[in-house]
């Protein structure tokens, strides 16, 4: 699997500084789970953050270190005194077949088999994902093989992460792990590749602008 479309530096920086809000963060974190290159870029940013803090150190405050040390020791429970046991082997057995990586899988409540698809019309389905933070809308989308997503523009940012199958957007092909960033300047019509439904995660912070009047009419019902 080779990822061709990566998270941008500015979005990754927001992830590194913690400024990215929950909805966007799910998409970026899930991309990073699939993308070693992105994680190397992230670790460089974290190192840069470390360098900046070390370079402009706030005046160290050591007034009550001994007291703090005593109180920290008290907080380390007995169970935490045991070396951590890794269960990597156990998980490796299941490897390969899992479609939804963490942190997305926990939000969905399981892998693809636990997705409760709701029809969007024309063979497309979605499943909205509930978040505490309501500044974004997050959903899984299933676009039928060979079919287009209705043409639309954007009133804000849209992130689309492919999880299974693939789609074309103009010349560009997006497959598992690829992340598409769209904004107000982009009008597009992604088309799922023939042969397999395309499942992706979509995050938006504003309703889409559909060209079709019919879609505009039913948009509030679908909540897209």
């Amino acid at each position: 699997m080779t990822i061709r479309h990566h998270v941008s530096d500015e979005l990754l920086l927001d992830y590194a500084t913690g400024a990215l809000s929950e909805g966007w963060r799910i998409a970026v974190a899930t991309h990073l789970a699939l993308c070693p290159q992105g994680r190397r870029r992230l670790s460089l940013m974290e190192m840069a953050g470390g360098v900046l803090v070390r370079e402009h150190p706030p005046e160290p405050l050591r007034s009550n270190d001994d007291e703090a040390w005593i109180s920290i020791k008290k907080r380390l429970g007995v169970s935490e005194m045991q070396p951590a046991v890794l269960q990597a082997d156990d998980l490796a057995v299941r490897g390969g077949a899992v479609v939804l990586p963490e942190p997305l899988r926990s939000y969905v409540g399981g892998d693809l088999e636990s997705v409760k698809w709701r029809p969007l019309g024309r063979g497309a389905y979605h499943m909205p994902i509930e978040l505490e933070d309501e500044s974004t809308k997050v959903r899984l989308l299933r676009i039928p093989a060979g079919k287009p997503v209705p043409e639309h523009g954007h009133r804000g940012r849209e992130l689309t992460l492919v999880l299974s199958g693939s789609f074309h957007d103009g010349e560009a092909l997006f497959a598992r792990g690829d992340l598409e960033e769209a904004d107000e300047t982009l009008q597009h019509q992604p088309v799922a590749t023939e042969g397999e439904d395309c499942i992706c995660l979509a995050v938006t912070d504003a309703p889409l602008k559909f060209r079709s009047w019919l879609l505009r009419a039913i948009q509030p019902i679908l909540g897209i």
Partner: protein
């Protein structure tokens, strides 16, 4: 010589964290605590402005270091980058109540590095020195932007608002800065 002893100290810290992770070594943990507590406490106070809360967040950072020590991977970065990332995240969690989802290296769907390099300890130490030099060489407009992002915990679009710059300008400065930093480290990704 001074550089050498500083690097040696950094290596030591990576080793101390490894000892905490593998054998719950309390003496190693205390040395990490003594080395970082004053800075982390002050780092919290810069943003939180409440000494009592800063103290609590510093202690929470140290407890997290203890809990997650086994996950520290020297090939992914330096001890100070790791500890300040933990501190920064806790500082943000404190005023943002929603969850902060992250990837999980133990997840069966996680795609690992194709071939993990072997000689990391040395490489990482060298990398931080080079990164430091490269950051000093950045144009001030790019450095200031990174400082704002890491010290004030604001997103790139909030930075654009604050500085009265077009979003596109902020984006391109971020991209320029990191392409230079990556080049300085021999285009790691």
């Amino acid at each position: 010589m001074k550089q050498n002893s500083k690097s040696a100290a950094k290596d030591d810290l990576a080793r101390l964290i490894a000892r905490v992770g593998s054998s719950r070594d309390m003496e190693a943990f205390e040395r990490i605590f003594r080395a970082y507590a004053p800075q982390v406490r002050a780092f919290m106070l810069q943003r939180v402005r409440d000494p009592q809360l800063s103290e609590e967040l510093m202690q929470e950072t140290m407890v997290t270091v203890w809990r997650k020590a086994a996950q520290f991977d020297p090939s992914r970065g330096t001890p100070s980058a790791w500890i300040f990332t933990i501190a920064r995240n806790l500082r943000i969690d404190n005023y943002r109540r929603s969850r902060r989802p992250d990837f999980d290296p133990n997840d069966p769907a996680f795609v690992p590095e194709p071939e993990p390099a072997a000689d990391h300890a040395l490489e990482t130490r060298d990398e931080e020195t080079r990164l430091h030099a490269a950051m000093t060489g950045l144009p001030s407009e790019q450095r200031d932007l990174l400082k704002l992002a890491f010290f004030e915990d604001v997103s790139h679009s909030e930075i654009a608002d604050r500085l009265g710059l077009p979003l596109g300008t902020v984006k391109s400065r971020i991209r320029l800065a990191f392409s230079k930093l990556r080049a300085a480290l021999g285009d790691r990704p």
